[in-house]
């Protein structure tokens, strides 16, 4: 997506440890028009997959996911990273290991919101090593739901997340694909949409 690539070039910052910081447009301050455009693009790309639920994980996936769900006319579900006081029903749970934080956390969705008749589109802001996406896929699989695809805003193509998901047979659509963050420079390869 040309607009996202342009905005990363304009507003993104590469931190010393190979981290891309996009906190002025995506994951702290958020550009609502950009989110709307990205959410609607995912809806268009997956229009023929009969999506019944859009699933993401709190917090940075929520904005693009809600616009995608609106466009598709289906509910959005955000997986919880910690158990809420009111989550008193049976839960789908999965363990997600964070390489950056070096901790394993449990993510969950209430079982009542995903069934075997659901066709799920997963949306997330970043794809790096694919652990969060894998966790979301496992929640869907526990419910017997079909994962129809994954929409990613920014893919770090120099990490192995995409390969991991494709090896699981999942269609990955990334709006910006970054092949390198070396020397503080963002290098892009052709995106999927």
């Amino acid at each position: 997506m040309q607009e996202l690539v342009k905005r990363i070039q304009q507003d993104g910052n590469v931190l010393g440890d190979g981290v891309l910081k996009v906190d002025s447009i995506i994951n702290h301050q958020v550009d609502p028009l950009l989110m709307k455009q990205m959410g609607e693009l995912f809806a268009k790309v997956f229009a023929k997959r009969n999506i019944t639920k859009v699933v993401t994980i709190e917090s940075s996936g929520i904005a693009p996911a809600i616009f995608c769900a609106l466009e598709l006319g289906v509910p959005m579900i955000f997986a919880r990273k910690s158990k809420s006081l009111t989550m008193n029903e049976e839960l789908l749970t999965s363990s997600v290991y964070s390489f950056t934080k070096q901790v394993t956390s449990t993510i969950s969705i209430s079982r009542k919101f995903l069934t075997e008749s659901d066709n799920v589109l997963i949306i997330d802001d970043f794809l790096a090593n694919g652990q969060a996406a894998k966790g979301l896929i496992e929640l869907c699989q526990q419910a017997g739901a079909s994962v129809e695809g994954i929409g990613i805003l920014i893919e770090k193509s120099f990490q192995d997340g995409r390969q991991l998901l494709e090896d699981m047979g999942i269609d990955v659509v990334s709006l910006a694909r970054i092949s390198s963050l070396e020397n503080g420079e963002v290098t892009f390869i052709e995106a999927d949409a």
Copy 2:
């Protein structure tokens, strides 16, 4: 907002301990059309306040806040409940005490995103004792920004949060106001919009 009241009556559940559960429409599974309607209503109510930023707190405030920000044509900022790896700049921070969890947590916004020239509209899903809203107001005040109002989806009018905010001189606009959750019944009083 009649539509929200109707949906709470239809989809809400009162838990034994006086907690209203709306996880099928607001804070776990999310209805995107309802969120759009609520966000746009806040934008309409605060249209003349020259809002420059919409501020919320992760995670359940993000969906209504992003639609409000889109309608107003301004950025949305979500305060973080935990420090992100990439938050390496100066932060505005505030302590928020949770009566339900009985813990104090620190919320933060990067200082660069709020200045004294900002007019802020705060959006959140619930208002009960007002501690989260008070924390967000403190972040704005540290930046010298003006808090032009607070938009709340569901106010528990039997708790003292609204009074706390009004005593600070803040305009509170709640789309549903609940006067009682006793005996498992949701009783409403007239909402602000």
